[in-house]
């Protein structure tokens, strides 16, 4: 276990715990308006203060963690669910028209940053958390397809794959039974990284109004609300921003740590 893995795991668990806890308990109702108590700095009653409507920021950050995690997690799921089979197929049929088609398709999707996909989707269906998930998810597909194909290609040259082919297994079975388990570690590490990028992307999309809509709390929108008040209530911006940084930092450290832990060979090469 590396130090990165422990520290990253701790930070990530903290955010996950806050998100899970928010389903059953928050210090206050995160939607409850309390205008007389507005714009309080952190104190004994409101641990992280209140916003311009007197809503409890600690509760909003907890529920916001839910939105961030849900969007990023499902987006990683979409990316893996579609990208990994595409990458496996491309590797199994290397050099064929199918491989070419998948890889060129990847290049095409790569040309659309998730913000641009979100702009397109929002122009058609309107803004919302689901559209943010789709936008980030689509962006994740070529990432996973490329990394899967890249890792699977050298495996196809190995003796144990040859043995499986001699044993009469088809490309689909070999991909599922032998290639996939061997690229799983890499996918877990990449998954962690895409998870953290997803949290950043979700925050950005919500900030510009293309993500979660009111009353769903989200860190990005809390920051958008805070923008006009940053001169006299900086805590409104500092707190959700710190929540994003803690989550992303935690996941990135965890990704680095996992990579070192799962793949000692890689560690030797890197150091």
């Amino acid at each position: 276990m590396t130090r990165n893995l422990i520290l990253g795991g701790l930070l990530s668990s903290l955010v996950l715990l806050a998100a899970l806890l928010s389903f059953v308990w928050t210090p206050f109702d995160h939607t409850a308006l309390n205008i007389p108590a507005k714009l309080q700095i952190p104190n004994g009653t409101h641990w992280l203060g209140t916003d311009h409507f007197g809503r409890d920021i600690f509760s909003m950050v907890m529920v916001g963690a839910r939105t961030s995690i849900a969007v990023a997690l499902v987006a990683v799921g979409i990316g893996m669910g579609l990208g990994v089979p595409l990458g496996l197929t491309a590797a199994a049929r290397k050099g064929s028209w199918l491989d070419e088609l998948i890889m060129r398709g990847n290049d095409l999707v790569f040309a659309f940053p998730s913000l641009v996909i979100a702009i397109l989707i929002t122009a058609i269906f309107g803004a919302g958390a689901v559209n943010a998930i789709i936008a980030i998810g689509i962006f994740n597909i070529p990432v996973f397809a490329r990394i899967t194909r890249g890792a699977a290609l050298p495996l196809w040259q190995r003796e144990f794959i040859l043995a499986a082919r001699v044993a009469g297994k088809g490309a689909v079975r070999i991909s599922a039974e032998h290639i996939l388990p061997n690229v799983a570690n890499l996918l877990i590490v990449q998954g962690t990284i895409q998870f953290s990028l997803g949290i950043l992307a979700e925050a950005g999309l919500s900030y510009v109004g293309l993500g979660a809509q009111p009353p769903t709390p989200s860190w990005g929108r809390m920051l958008a609300d805070a923008q006009t008040m940053v001169s006299f209530a900086p805590h409104l911006a500092l707190i959700p921003g710190s929540a994003i940084i803690v989550s992303v930092l935690g996941l990135n450290l965890m990704g680095d740590g996992l990579r070192d832990w799962l793949d000692p060979k890689l560690r030797e090469v890197r150091e």
């Binding site: 060129r104 290049d107 095409l108 790569f110 040309a111 659309f112 940053p113 998730s114 913000l115 641009v116 702009i119 397109l120 929002t122 122009a123 058609i124 953290s196 950043l200 925050a203 950005g204 900030y207 510009v208 109004g209 990005g220 920051l223 805070a226 923008q227 940053v230 001169s231 900086p234 911006a237 500092l238 959700p240 921003g241 994003i244 940084i245 992303v248 930092l249 990135n252 450290l253 890197r270």
Partner: protein, 315 residues
């Protein structure tokens, strides 16, 4: 090299064609008729029909796609549904904010990342390296628009060195214009600089293990001399590629950062267009952004082959 360039150009044209098809048909499925949207709910049916003819909406999808592409190739992006002015002009005005902002940020991030990456690689494992790597870890975790707000709080509101927002305009001179883009560019550059520093460091470390570096040391160069004379040049290949790839992220990032500083760039244009359902503007801006990404990737491919001849024969 010529064959490689031709092949890449062909794939560039193909990518652009497919991307334009995707964008056109995605916008096409958007619900609502632009003509009735422009005229409001009380419009007479024949007025709507007349406007549809004027906008070319009565033609088939195929005809309209080709008319759109043909127009774009001639610099004509059509008429804005809301403002009734040429979209090309609207985009051109805004582009002179977004593009310089992205380039400014790219320059800053390179200026930060090169020394930081070289410093970290030269002091691998020591406290200086750890400090730089720790900073980059934090740098990639900071959302750029949040960092932008913090910069505004410190340098615009408290220290009053910069304006909190707005753009001076190029007509007021290079100095004031760049001054108003400085905070946005710093905010945009920070996460990119963090990534680039890591790439620079690891590229240099890879090179340090190469045989020719050992030879350089063996013939009497110090570690530092070997790094400067042989290491840096060879590490440039992966670093240049990443710089090129970062440009697309910077352009997308610029769109978000513009919102923090109320800059009249492509971001403001596209978000206004979304809320007023000015789909032709959305379509054109998206096409332009995708075009920029594809073009930069194409240039990176060419630059890469120019530096590393092995790649030309491989692809």
């Amino acid at each position: 090299m010529l064959r490689y360039t031709l092949k890449r150009s062909l794939s560039l044209a193909l990518s652009l064609a497919v991307a334009s098809l995707v964008i056109f048909f995605v916008i096409e499925v958007a619900p609502g008729d632009p003509a009735s949207f422009m005229l409001g709910i009380n419009a007479e049916p024949d007025t709507v029909a007349a406007l549809r003819t004027e906008l070319g909406l009565d033609q088939s999808k195929g005809e309209r796609y080709f008319a759109w592409v043909q127009g774009m190739l001639q610099g004509d992006f059509g008429m804005s549904y809301t403002y009734r002015t040429p979209v090309a002009g609207m985009i051109a005005d805004r582009m002179w904010v977004s593009l310089p902002l992205a380039l400014y940020a790219l320059t800053l991030s390179t200026l930060i990342a090169f020394p930081a990456g070289i410093y970290a690689a030269a002091r691998r494992g020591k406290s200086g390296d750890m400090a730089v790597m720790g900073a980059t870890q934090l740098g990639v975790a900071v959302p750029n628009f949040w960092f932008a707000m913090i910069l505004v709080l410190i340098f615009a509101i408290n220290l009053r060195w910069f304006n909190a927002g707005g753009f001076a305009g190029w007509e007021s001179g290079l100095g004031p214009a760049l001054h108003s883009l400085t905070l946005p560019a710093i905010a945009l550059a920070l996460p990119q600089a963090a990534i680039l520093t890591r790439v620079m460091r690891s590229a240099l470390l890879d090179i340090l293990g190469e045989d020719f570096m050992r030879t350089a040391r063996a013939k009497g160069l110090t570690r530092r001399q070997a790094l400067w004379r042989h290491g840096l040049r060879n590490a440039m290949i992966p670093v240049l590629t990443i710089i090129g790839l970062q440009f697309s992220f910077l352009l997308a990032g610029a769109i978000i950062i513009e919102q923090v500083f109320f800059l009249p760039g492509l971001g403001r244009l596209v978000f206004q267009a979304i809320s007023s359902r000015d789909l032709i503007v959305v379509e054109s801006v998206v096409m332009l952004l995708v075009f920029a990404v594809i073009l930069v990737n194409f240039l990176v491919d060419l630059a890469y082959a120019l530096v590393d001849p092995r790649l030309r024969s491989r692809t």
